[in-house]
């Protein structure tokens, strides 16, 4: 079991550019979560998919951020017109079913916006 895979591990973008982050959940896990981690805010929930359907995006900034899960083997988080304040580590996690099963985290993508 390879665990949750996230690519790229590091991404540097210029202000105003687009960034797309990829996540491959653990095979058989039907729930996928995205989180953002910063020194100031800590770990924040962004969005949640269950069986590829978006269930909760209450943590997503209303503008510029979007997430998709086109198939059961990957999810993407896209940030348009990146800003320096978007710099963070973006973590993807997956779990069985959803609900209160433990979540397994990927290594994260460190996004740096210059």
């Amino acid at each position: 079991n390879a665990g949750v895979i996230q690519t790229p591990r590091h991404k540097v973008t210029g202000k105003g550019q687009e960034a797309t982050l990829w996540c491959e959940p653990i095979s058989g896990h039907s729930a996928v979560f995205w989180y953002r981690q910063t020194i100031v805010q800590g770990l924040e929930f962004l969005t949640y998919f269950r069986n590829q359907a978006p269930i909760d995006d209450s943590g997503m900034p209303k503008e510029r951020f979007s997430a998709q899960m086109p198939n059961q083997s990957h999810s993407t988080l896209k940030i348009q017109s990146t800003q320096p304040q978007d710099s963070a580590v973006y973590l993807c996690a997956s779990s069985l079913v959803g609900g209160s099963y433990e979540q397994y985290f990927g290594p994260g993508t460190r996004l740096t916006v210059l």
Partner: protein
């Protein structure tokens, strides 16, 4: 609203000494509780979890935690730490019912440094 407080941002212990990392939670019912560890430049790894039953739960690498409903606490313990235990430890809560029981609430984390 639910919350998790880890009162110690940093803890330093000597190798071989015992360890306790504190965690207090706020939640109206009995939550599901987890401890995760994050090593430098890595994702979070699950150490242990509490759902119900025996309040003392065992985890990986000799870690254990004790749930106390009366104290709203879930402290992490280890009898003898190793230098490789140096990492950031997160106490995490989720609701045990309701439509939002997938949402994890994280503490701010405790940076553990084990000195030789």
């Amino acid at each position: 609203a639910q919350s998790v407080t880890q009162p110690d941002a940093r803890v330093t212990v000597s190798e071989g000494a015992s360890l306790q990392l504190r965690c207090k939670y706020s939640y109206s019912g009995t939550p599901y509780l987890f401890w995760y560890v994050q090593y430098p430049r890595q994702g979070l790894q699950l150490l242990l979890k509490y759902y119900s039953g025996d309040p003392v739960v065992q985890g990986v690498n000799g870690f254990e935690a004790e749930f106390s409903k009366s104290n709203s606490s879930f402290h992490l313990r280890k009898a003898s730490v190793h230098w490789s235990d140096s990492a950031v430890y997160f106490c995490v809560l989720s609701a045990n019912s309701g439509g939002s029981n997938y949402k994890l609430t994280f503490g701010k984390g405790t940076l553990l440094t084990v000195t030789p």
